[in-house]
Amino acid sequence: MRTGIAAMAAERGLARQQGAMAQGVGMAAPVGKPIPVPDKVTQPFWDATREGRLVVQRCEDCKRFQHPPEPLCFACGSAAVGYEAVSGRGRIQSYSITYDTRDPAFESLQPYPVVLVSLEEQDDLIFLTNMPGVPLEGVAIDVPVMVEFEEIAEGVSIPQFRPVEEERQ
């Protein structure tokens, strides 16, 4: 196994090659999954995911959750919106399976699912996930899932989900 600078150079060489193929030009930056660019509203969300925590915007007045984050509460209009940790548990609301991606960063992952997850805190709290590493047979409506985090670049993590056993009461 190569380590250190040699490995990094080899990796970048490969990535550059893939990028060049995708772009049809001689030199191009490495291809990776798109990196979220936080803004003044979403910064706390991405700060938390980097630490492996799932937080969701919640209105301090009407207590409704909302995602993606917004500058104010869309349920009651309050500006008093903060972030609160959630369970990360939910169920698959629906899904599709992509065979014809337009972003070269996803070509090697095809076919990949694009899954809507409804969090248990609130039905209309919807997160997306590709359920990485999960066989397609395991993706079905109503399957219970739990959040996990995928590091897509150094210091950048996005929420993903994996199936979990039904909790027994």
């Binding site: 990776g32 803004d39 995602h67 599709s96 014809d100 972003d103 960063a105 992952l109 997160f127």
Partner: protein
């Protein structure tokens, strides 16, 4: 309520997949045809509106080549407009704006057009790299346009059934209607019928969508001339009066929208449309329900009251029920699936032709009221056309 505005001229360019002809030439041709058809003098056109943006990422911005703005068209035709507007959405949205401008007295005759580009290379291929704005929550998951409505169909199947065997029959008769029209991509370039087996065996794009659930990208342009209902009555051609309009962006979150979210907004648009027109679904003689992705059509039929909850798939799978002499003549030129990715042009064009008895072999007998829905269930618009002003 009497109509305030009417379509008095239509023009439609040929479509192509790959073309060396600059989009600007294609668009000007369609606009000239619409103006000639209207019988108005070019100098009378004092309003121009369109949607110039293109439905794919990574396209260029050269005006006249990649996009066609109202400014380009005005210069190319030598117009001196007092009102221009480049709007978002689809061609139906700009036509609703034209109706508003005429009703408000802002201008007297409006040219509405939609020019679609089909770029070279793989359509919409894009190395996104970064994800800002709303894309923060979608691009890192490899989300592209087919995903959303594919998820909606998957949800619908879970709730009601209505699978690919039914959709196959809809798409097959859709192709037949497109071939009968003699226009559009399939009639002009691949004039062969589609079979149920051919649909079922085709490649996946975004399962449950196969390639025949997605409209094929084309270059082409449709154009329309509108004027006041009063002026239309004295024009040379037979006017299609605008009897009702609705156009509204869905409130609420725009990422991670569910089937239920989009149906709720579709129903809201329907309520607005029927209230505006003081008409109902039972009054429509012909319906053009947008189908950029195939499953949008059954969603629209249920949202606007043409089919009960969970019943639209069996309706569209029945060739006789949606034929010219059926209970709901539907998408009579095969919609976008039959004509190509023209973003609302086929729907408006056919509804107008139907109520002005210009639909040839596809003519619905005695069609007086036709509905054209152009747009997704997030950003929809709809217009009702009548052969009479009230």
């Amino acid at each position: 309520v009497s109509a305030r505005a009417a379509v008095v001229g239509i023009g439609q360019s040929p479509v192509s997949r790959r073309s060396e002809t600059p989009l600007g030439q294609v668009a000007v041709g369609a606009c000239r045809e619409a103006i000639a058809d209207s019988g108005l003098d070019v100098a009378e056109i004092d309003g121009v509106t369109a949607v110039s943006s293109q439905p794919f990422e990574g396209g260029g911005t050269a005006d006249g080549v990649d996009i066609i703005t109202p400014g380009f068209i005005s210069r190319a035709l030598g117009l001196q407009p007092v009102w221009t507007e480049d709007v978002t959405g689809m061609v139906g949205h700009s036509m609703v704006e034209a109706v508003h401008a005429i009703a408000a007295g802002t201008c007297r005759a409006v040219l509405v057009y939609r020019a679609l580009n089909s770029p070279s290379g793989r359509y919409g291929q894009v190395r996104r790299g970064m994800a800002s704005g709303p894309a923060q929550f979608t691009s890192p998951y490899g989300v592209f346009p087919p995903s959303g409505y594919a998820q909606h169909w998957r949800r619908y199947m879970h709730l009601y059934g209505g699978g690919r065997e039914q959709m196959a029959r809809f798409i097959v008769q859709n192709r037949d209607k497109a071939l009968l029209s003699g226009e559009g991509y399939w009639a002009c370039f691949r004039p062969e019928p589609l079979t149920v087996e051919g649909y079922m065996a085709s490649r996946w794009v975004s399962e449950p969508f196969c390639v025949y659930d997605c409209d094929i990208p084309v270059q082409g342009c449709g154009a329309f001339v509108l004027t006041s209902a009063e002026r239309a009555a004295s024009a040379s051609g037979r006017p299609a009066y605008v009897r009702g309009v609705a156009s509204a962006h869905a409130p609420g979150r725009l990422q991670g929208r569910t089937y239920e979210d989009n149906m709720e907004h579709g129903r809201r648009l329907g309520q607005a449309l029927w209230a505006n027109a003081r008409l109902g679904p039972g009054d429509m003689d012909e319906v053009e329900a947008y189908d950029g992705f195939s499953f949008m059509t059954p969603m629209w039929l249920e949202a606007l009251g043409f089919a009960g909850e969970g019943e639209a798939m069996s309706l569209i799978a029945d060739r006789e029920r949606i034929a010219a002499d059926g209970e709901l003549p539907l998408n009579m030129t095969g919609g976008n699936q039959g004509q190509g990715r023209l973003h609302g042009v086929p729907q408006l064009m056919e509804a107008i032709r139907q109520v002005t008895a210009r639909a040839g072999a596809r003519q619905v007998p005695d069609a007086n009221l036709a509905l054209a829905i152009t747009g997704t269930l997030v950003r929809p618009s709809a217009l009702i056309f009548g052969g009479t002003p009230d």
